[in-house]
């Protein structure tokens, strides 16, 4: 992790920030840098100082209510407006409070944002960011706990980002805001309060570059969001048994850095893909296929998937726990690829 350039007079210090704080910094920096960038969404300005998870905290005080705009509850309307603003020279960062609510806004995302540039023969661009948060584990039940990245990965014209650490979150959000395309930026509700090192000073993380979070030689585990962390825990546990696991976080699903994943599998010969989203037709299937094509002759076992079960997320704790992929499932999957029980 290198710091590009610190602001003059500032040391290249590294701070422990929460994921939410890191995102907040990214927004603050980009809004200061480019007056066309503005934030809008439900309860982004005032609630609790800014945003239900504090991501937009303090922004309205610094940039004013025009640029940090609370909206009525009108997901389709505000998403359509983000498209209209983007196509006419602004750079909106729209917040949809829960990814589950993007269902209301699907026309604006899928039929308008993703397609205007192409349908207009390249004569328009839609530089907008749609931020939403995913994930379960808090007892928010079925309509507030989903992970829906697969929906957006499926639509040509969108980019899809899923950071798992504060460092990644900040660098990727800055890149998303500077990207001239519609970016679906998916955060995770459980990760907002996790802490990690974030350098002071300017840095961005490019799209399409996966991050090897832990090196290993026996099995490659590719995961996003909370599953990155569960995979790292599983890797620690497996190391006690002499099994060396490589954990890779793709960070962006579209574009996907297939080469890094394939190179890893050519080394380890085994692949486990993992995400919290429902298993069926989740991005794990796409990753497995993409990597298999590049590393078929190096696979010593079938690809394993450790994902959310195909069930609406239940409310009761033991049920919710059982519906979601856990560290133990990863440990078992890695062992299965090695032909061990």
């Amino acid at each position: 992790m290198t710091v590009a350039a610190a602001r003059p007079g500032q040391e290249a210090a590294v701070r422990e920030l929460t994921y939410a704080q890191a995102l907040n910094e990214a927004l603050r920096e980009e809004m200061a840098r480019d007056p066309r960038v503005f934030v809008m969404g439900e309860d982004v300005a005032i609630w609790g100082g800014g945003g239900v998870f504090g991501v937009t905290k303090g922004l309205v005080d610094e940039f004013g209510p025009e640029r940090v705009r609370d909206t009525p509850i009108s997901e389709e309307g505000i998403t359509g407006m983000a498209v209209g603003a983007a196509v006419t020279g602004m750079r909106p960062v729209l917040e949809i409070m829960y990814v589950d609510f993007t269902a209301m806004a699907m026309d604006a995302i899928v039929n308008q944002a993703a397609k205007l540039r192409y349908m207009f023969g390249g004569r328009a661009k839609v530089p907008m960011v749609l931020r939403a948060q995913e994930g379960a584990g808090r007892g928010n039940a079925a309509q507030h706990s989903q992970s829906l990245e697969a929906w957006f990965c499926h639509i040509p014209g969108l980019k899809v980002v899923t950071p798992s650490t504060p460092y990644d979150a900040k660098g990727l959000l800055k890149t998303a805001i500077r990207d001239d395309n519609p970016v679906i930026f998916l955060e995770h509700k459980v990760l907002y309060f996790t802490k990690g090192p974030v350098p002071a000073g300017e840095y961005t993380i490019p799209f399409g570059v996966a991050d090897v979070k832990r090196e290993g030689t026996d099995c490659t585990v590719v995961g996003i969001h909370t599953m990155v962390h569960k995979a790292l825990q599983a890797a620690e546990e497996l190391a006690q048994e002499g099994i060396s696991v490589e954990v890779i976080d793709p960070r962006t699903l579209v574009p996907l850095d297939v080469e890094t994943l394939a190179r890893s599998v050519r080394k380890t010969h085994r692949l486990v893909v993992t995400h919290e989203a429902y298993e069926r037709c989740g991005v794990g299937a796409e990753i497995a296929m993409a990597v298999m094509r590049e590393a078929f002759d190096f696979l010593d076992a079938p690809v394993e998937r450790v994902c959310g079960k195909n069930v609406p997320i239940p409310y009761a704790e033991p049920l919710e726990r059982a519906a979601l992929p856990q560290k133990e499932d990863l440990v078992a999957a890695v062992k299965r690829t090695l032909g061990r029980a």
Partner: protein, 327 residues
Amino acid sequence: MTTTAPGLSSVSVEQLRWMHRTMWRIRAFDTKALEVYRAGMMRGTSHPYIGMEAVGVGVCAALREDDYITSTHRGHGHCIAKGGDINRMMAELLGKATGTCKGKGGSMHIAEVDRGILGANGIVGGGMGIAAGAALSAKMRGSGQVVVCFFGDGALNQGVLHEVMNMAAIWKLPVVFVCENNGFAMSARVENTVANLDAAARANAYGIPGMEVDGMDVLAVYEAASHAIERARRGEGPSLLICRTYRYFGHHAGDPLNYRAREEVEPWRAKDPIERLEKLLVERGIMSQEEVQRVQDEEKQAVERALEFAQQSPEPPVETLMEDIYA
């Protein structure tokens, strides 16, 4: 507030000539488009604006060149009225590389963003969010630009209209919502699908002005639109216009039209907007009958040339398939 035949003093001769010529251009273009479709030269379909020219022209006559419009699936008229290039539009209908969208969009997605045409749209109500967003953008940039959001009576029922009218009202966005009520949403009659057609009442729900307009009278449309656009430009917020008009032809080329009697169109043809304007122009001595005829001929010829241009243009090469997905 309803307006009938307005005074002519607020319209210049130049504008009148422009309105006349542009309505002919639209009619010639969409008539040709129907022919082209019937001749099997066009894919997908075409949604003719014939009979409704006064609305698009009357509204766009009151717009600046840098103002924005969002259009509908029945968008040729709006695009032409906003200054769209008929050569490139015809090429787009024929799916050629020289089309407004390089052949990738087709009739329902014609757009010329640099001319402020933020696109025809294949989704009913798809342009509403975009229009409100463009208005927000204009307001934030302080550019003084205004956005006109065209939509049909069918779109009055889309939820997003309520959302954006509300937001436009609370934020005083410079957008004018222009509903072209041509009586039908495909086969569904507006009397059966819209609970309350009263423009003022609907607009009142958001605390904004609303008016019904005779959509067969280009000057009535122009007057009402001018007021609304100026209001928006002054920063006073949105308005709703519901323009009553009629589409002489079907919803799209090939429409069986079994849901209305042939005779129904007669009273509307009697109010034909082009004829009405021509009568007025000739009576007031602004143009002679010959001049009037000449304009018609010229526009028909221009459309012919546009078709030739389109026919001679190449198709987009397959290699361009994956281009322009991302910026």
